[in-house]
């Protein structure tokens, strides 16, 4: 058969394939560019960036759990000025979409970053992180209350020059409510899931494994939860859904797309295999060829 179409579109932005990176697991791509050509990705989603540098949490910040890991980095980042001067010019060299993940402690902080990015060339989309479980103010505090989700979405949408993706937390009773709130606030897309709040105790030392006590659980352990939530959210809204949570191979990515995701993000798996994202893109293509499916769009939400 002829080469299948791998391109998908999110809020008018064309991705050459549906594979992108999950924020916080890929930096701004510099380290991974030593392993492969970033132009092979549908998009690079950057580590969360705030209006000023954030120092993050005390260590230990990470620990392994069964088929997963906990992290409580606390969004250490250099702030938007360094990001615009150093990271954006680096990413612009590649033929991929740049999606900047934006974090903040308050509405004003999110808006300062959004405003600063307004005139930056080459930023295709903004992903608004309202779901980080490891910062006390902002982050998840916005993402677990539907009124707050709608309000912050509306505020960001009113100012952003780029289309916005709201990144949702799975630490809620009903993800459909949050998805609808983001849509009502004017979100162009939603992405989910961020990490699940977890805890590990080092029994030999009788201490918490993470200095922050709790952290965000990621990796294959959370994948079934994520697939279920992507299925529910994509059934509740008409805006595109970007699926993530424990994807380590093409089969996982296809599962998310069949559940309703238009694109997928690969996160923790990068830590085990630096070239996993490109292998997933190739694997999706091979699957389409094997199944004689001419367009990747045909598998999106096909199980409904």
């Amino acid at each position: 058969m002829t080469e299948p179409n791998m391109a998908v579109s999110i809020a008018g932005v064309t991705l050459k394939n549906p594979v992108m990176t999950a924020s916080g697991t890929f930096g701004s791509g510099m380290e991974y560019s030593e392993f492969f050509d970033l132009s092979k990705l549908g998009a690079v989603v950057t580590k969360g960036v705030a209006d000023v540098p954030w120092a993050g949490n005390p260590t230990p910040r990470v620990c392994e759990t069964a088929s997963g890991m906990l992290n409580a980095i606390g969004l250490q980042n250099p702030g938007i000025d360094v990001f615009c001067e150093r990271d954006l010019p680096f990413l612009r060299k590649y033929d991929t979409n740049i999606i900047v993940n934006v974090c903040g402690h308050s509405k004003e902080e999110y808006l300062r970053v959004v405003d600063r990015l307004a005139d930056e060339e080459g930023v295709a989309l903004l992903e608004i992180n309202i779901s980080c479980p490891n910062v006390k103010q902002g982050g998840i505090a916005f993402g677990t209350d539907p009124r707050a989700v709608e309000e912050i979405t509306r505020a960001v949408k009113a100012r952003a020059k780029q289309p916005i993706i709201m990144k949702l937390s799975p630490n809620v009773t009903d993800i459909k409510v949050m998805a609808k709130a983001a849509e009502a606030g004017g979100a162009d897309a939603i992405s989910l899931i961020n990490t699940l709040t977890g805890m590990k105790i080092d029994i030999e030392r009788g201490r918490f494994a993470l200095a922050n006590r709790t952290g965000g659980l990621s990796g294959p352990a959370i994948k079934p939860v994520a697939v279920r939530m992507v299925y529910e959210a994509s059934g509740a809204v008409s805006i595109p859904v970007i699926g993530m949570g424990g994807i380590t191979c093409a089969d996982d990515a296809i599962e998310f797309m069949m559940a309703g995701a238009r694109a997928v993000s690969v996160g923790t798996a990068n830590f085990r295999n630096p070239t996993v994202t490109v292998e997933i893109a190739e694997g999706i293509r091979d699957f389409l060829v094997r199944k004689n499916i001419p367009d990747v769009g045909e598998i999106i939400g096909c199980v409904r």
């Binding site: 069964a66 992290n71 980095i73």
Partner: protein, 253 residues
């Protein structure tokens, strides 16, 4: 830095729960003293690489030697590997000690516990290495050290050398040096930093922290720094990428 499948040439237990593994890799000639590698479990449920310091390199045979302690299920799995087995590896990682700068100087290489192995490859690049090593009780790698230079030993139970820690041994034996390069537990590094400041000599420390990616992406393994770090412009350097070796004056211990 390459990710590849390495072949185990040989492995043996050299002390209780401490293993010495020789691996055939493509990057042996690129590794510098103080760098480390990431080893990956064959069990997919153990996602994260295990960072292990390089003990020795042999560019001729294209091998590196790793000496590590069983600390959990991942390292337990590694300890079961035999000659001919294969393991996923990423390396060499991190920066290493400023060996060239002090090549012809009297360098005191200080190690405690499982921090001793990287001192071997440091010594191999130095003209006049002197060792001060601390053990709980059971020693290991002692013969390898003695072959390379003068060795001062401390044991916590006094079974060999000075009873106490490495600082006690350095003081008891009146060891003099132009610079200290060290790897070991945090209390030891802290004490060495203070000792070096008092003696007015430079001190380099190899730091350890829980890591995830091992290549500077995840910001899991940071340590506090005196100056604003280059990556995040806060005061948190990445141990895996900006370290693991730092000037002791530069880091919060």
């Amino acid at each position: 830095m390459v990710k590849e499948i390495a072949e185990v040439v040989y492995q043996s237990e050299i002390a209780t729960d401490i293993y010495s593994m020789l691996l055939k890799v493509t990057f042996a000639r690129d590794a510098v003293p103080g760098q480390f590698v990431s080893l990956y479990s064959a069990d997919g449920s153990r996602l994260l690489p295990r960072p292990i310091s390089i003990c020795e390199t042999d560019a001729g045979s294209g091998t590196i030697r790793l000496v590590y302690r069983i600390a959990g299920k991942g390292t337990k799995e590694f300890s079961g590997l035999e000659g001919g087995d294969r393991i996923e590896i990423l390396g060499p990682l991190g920066n290493g000690f400023p060996i060239d700068e002090y090549k012809d100087k009297r360098v005191l290489l200080v190690g405690g516990g499982i921090g001793i192995p990287p001192l071997l490859c440091c010594a191999d690049s130095l003209e006049e290495p002197v060792f001060a090593v601390g053990y709980r009780s059971e020693t290991y790698l002692l013969e390898d050290l003695k072959k390379r230079g003068e060795v001062h030993v401390a044991t916590e139970d006094g079974s060999l050398g000075t009873a106490g820690n490495v600082i006690d041994a350095i003081k008891a034996d009146s060891v003099k040096a132009d610079v200290i390069m060290s790897c070991g537990p945090m209390p030891m590094l802290r004490a060495l930093k203070a000792y070096a400041a008092e003696a007015g000599i430079p001190c380099y420390v190899s730091m350890e922290e829980r890591m995830a990616c091992g290549i500077g992406v995840c910001l899991g393994c940071v340590c506090g720094t005196e100056h604003v770090d280059e990556h995040s412009h806060v005061n948190n350097a990445r141990i895996c990428k900006d370290g693991p070796v730092f000037d002791a004056k530069e880091v919060t211990l």
